[in-house]
């Protein structure tokens, strides 16, 4: 694949997508014809909302008073000290955490859901659907649906329903119908297929709240914009704390919404390097992983062209990660573009490495991170020995790990 040093860097990394929703070769609107008029409507409505001060005011108000923003930027002193202790002399950067896990519902997912339900309301839609893997996006969607009094159906793989019982119960408490999906491997990919099938049959009244920065245009752009509150706040907060921008940003990437939300406001700051961490599951040398960029190739699925895990005939492979939120064979199209331009570096992290980082964060910071962002913490552990003490790293703690304690206990062989 061409990397940035082999191709002409664009004037700006923040000017994507083009008017057809393409991020370079990626993105687009690969949907059934029935959905096209709706997608075009959604784009028109989003453009109108972007320049409507009332829309922004309502979004900001909910972010402040309902979600609890801004989320803190926290100097992770003990993590910094711990990494310095094992780093070579003079190495070990100063570590900051962006505390998205402190948001209402416990993850960054709510930022996007607030934005999309305001659009749904604006478009006069009266029913909400969403897909979910781990249940975090399902919970966030059920939450905003309850807040706005709209009926809500969440599609969830039958196997994920078994793995994530507490979140299933949460969604039900919030008034959502959780519909089990029994096709395919009964995980996130299949839930998305089923949500698309429902949507195509109910276009007249239904709004599909997609949970990550993927799917047909304008979703990748729209979700990125709603999540960019993470990076915009981070920029102001780090300038306030340190008087300069960080040297490195690190975030985990499944579909990639928390990562693009953090990265996007910094993309045109050349001094800021960025590292996206994919789930390498049992290892990139096995078939049991979810690393679309490092282990896949470009293809078309779920409305967009992007890197996918697939065979030579274009049949989609099943993904694997210990983190249900990263367990998807694709990735948002903007990440595919950022990978090919070389602006962001992507690496894989295994289940085992993520479990170790999960435990380290619990012990030295008193923060139980989600398994998703535990992958990002492995990126931190890898880079720390190579970076100078006066450098700054910012890691997105995208969600809290309370939902994961059963999975972790199981993996560690602990009885609960």
């Amino acid at each position: 694949m061409p990397k940035g040093n082999e191709m002409n860097a664009p004037n700006s990394f923040r000017a994507q997508p083009d008017e057809r929703g393409h991020f370079g070769d990626f993105g687009g609107r690969y949907v059934a014809e029935t959905l096209m008029p709706l997608i075009l409507d959604l784009e028109r409505e989003y453009r109108a909302a972007q320049v409507d001060p009332a829309f922004k005011a309502e979004f900001d108000d909910l972010m402040t008073h309902y979600v609890g923003r801004p989320s803190p930027m926290y100097y992770a002193e003990r993590m910094t000290d711990t990494l310095r202790a094992s780093a070579p002399e003079g190495k070990g950067p100063k570590v900051y955490f962006k505390r998205e896990e402190l948001n209402h519902t416990g993850a960054h997912k709510i930022n996007n859901c607030i934005g999309q339900i305001l659009l749904a309301k604006r478009m006069g839609k009266t029913r909400i659907i969403a897909e979910t893997g781990a249940g975090q996006h399902g919970v966030a969607t059920a939450t905003v649906a309850a807040r706005f009094g709209l009926p809500c159906t969440i599609f969830m793989g039958a196997r994920d329903i078994e793995r994530q019982a507490p979140n299933v119960f949460r969604m039900k408490l919030l008034g959502a119908e959780v519909r089990p999906v029994t096709s395919g491997a009964q995980t996130l990919k299949d839930a998305m297929n089923e949500a698309l099938r429902d949507w195509v049959a109910n276009v007249h009244d239904t709004f599909y709240i997609i949970g990550t920065a993927a799917g047909p245009h304008p979703y990748p752009e729209m979700v990125r914009d709603f999540q960019s509150v993470i990076g915009t706040e981070s920029k102001a907060q780090i300038l306030e704390a340190e008087g300069r921008l960080p040297d490195l940003l690190i975030a985990s990437v499944g579909g990639g919404s928390n990562a693009i939300g953090l990265f996007h406001p910094f993309l045109d700051d050349p001094e800021v390097a960025m590292l996206g961490i994919e789930a390498a599951g049992h290892g990139l040398n096995t078939t049991q992983h979810a690393a679309s960029l490092t282990g896949g190739k470009p293809g078309i699925l779920h409305g967009n062209k992007t890197y996918l895990l697939q065979d030579e005939d274009g049949q989609i492979a099943e993904a694997h990660s210990i983190s249900a939120g990263l367990d998807y064979p694709g990735i948002g199209p903007e990440h595919s573009w950022l990978n090919d331009t070389g602006r962001v570096v992507y690496e894989g992290v295994t289940d085992t490495e993520a479990l170790d980082a999960f435990q380290l964060c619990c012990k030295v910071e008193g923060i139980i991170p989600a398994l998703e962002c535990s992958h990002a913490l492995v990126g931190l552990i890898r880079r720390a020995p190579l970076m100078d003490r006066d450098q700054i790293v910012l890691v997105n703690i995208s969600g809290r790990g309370d939902k994961d304690i059963f999975t972790v206990a199981d993996a560690l062989g602990a009885k609960m």
Binding site: G28, R29, A32, E33, V200, Q310, Q315
Partner: protein, 270 residues
């Protein structure tokens, strides 16, 4: 003229709608498909749609989802689908053959590769569910370069504003998806189909074929009175699911009921 245009023209001359039939390639196994395709033709199908199996058929209902799973479970590869098409073309030199499926298996080796392979296999047209007119560069351009018809779908959501976009670059026939939904579910009200067909025929010179949810000879006949073609898929796929390798006989018998219904449909009107 192309095989597709010839076939629709011959049906029009005979005073009946064309019968367009769909099965999934490789269902239940790649070796069984040839006999099932022959049964379609023997039963009176005018156009044959051969589904390319895909792991994620997000526009299909349970019947065709299961067919995809059976086919992929039997190890069907793209090379098998193309071999099935090639052999069909040898056995049936005049019957139009259309590949139907999803973007990723069609474009994974590049659209030019697929267009060339399909042309070599004697394929007349391609229906790609998730490549709308806006993304024509991804497939349609390469197909036209090889003389293969890019068959577009119109739906109940295709209004007067949308229709010209769909029709630009459309070829072969226009496939009217009569319900907003997935394959094999409920059928649309006859009156809505009649209105839509009239609207579409006013906008294009292409034949208009109507599908989604058509199961009985009566339904086929009612549509055949107003449309140029009737598409039947899930009902045939259900028979393949039920009878497996023994499907050709029941498929042939079922197709005969549809084709006779279409042959008589407009006579009853006269």
């Amino acid at each position: 003229m192309s095989r597709i245009a010839d076939s629709f023209a011959a049906c029009a001359d005979a005073g009946r709608a064309a019968l367009v039939t769909f099965v999934t390639a490789g269902d239940p196994t790649p070796g069984d498909t040839a006999a099932i395709l022959d049964a379609l033709v023997e039963g009176g199908a005018d156009v044959v749609e051969l589904g390319m199996p895909f792991t994620d058929p997000m526009a299909d209902g349970p019947a065709i989802q299961k067919a995809n799973i059976r086919s992929l479970g039997a190890g069907t590869r793209t090379a098998d689908v193309l071999a099935i098409a090639t052999a069909f073309r040898v056995r049936h030199p005049h019957v139009p053959l259309v590949l139907m499926g999803y973007a990723n298996p069609m474009t994974v080796r590049g659209p030019e590769w697929f267009a060339e392979a399909a042309a070599q296999a004697g394929v007349d047209g391609v229906i790609c569910v998730d490549v709308p007119a806006e993304e024509d560069d991804a497939l349609g351009v390469a197909l036209r370069g090889k003389g293969i018809a890019s068959i577009r779908l119109a739906t109940p959501t295709s209004d007067a504003v949308r229709l010209p976009t769909i029709l630009t670059g459309a070829d072969g026939f226009l496939y009217y998806v009569s319900v907003a939904g997935i394959t094999g579910q409920q059928q649309a009200a006859q009156s809505s189909i009649e209105d839509a067909v009239a609207r579409l025929k006013a906008a294009t010179h292409l034949p208009v074929a109507v599908g989604f949810g058509v199961r009985t000879p009566e339904q086929a006949a009612a549509i055949g009175r107003v449309a140029d073609g009737v598409v039947v898929g899930s009902a045939i796929v259900d028979l393949v699911g039920e009878h497996g390798a023994n499907a050709p006989a029941p498929v042939r018998a079922y197709i005969q009921t549809l084709s006779s219904a279409l042959a008589d449909a407009r006579k009853e009107l006269a």
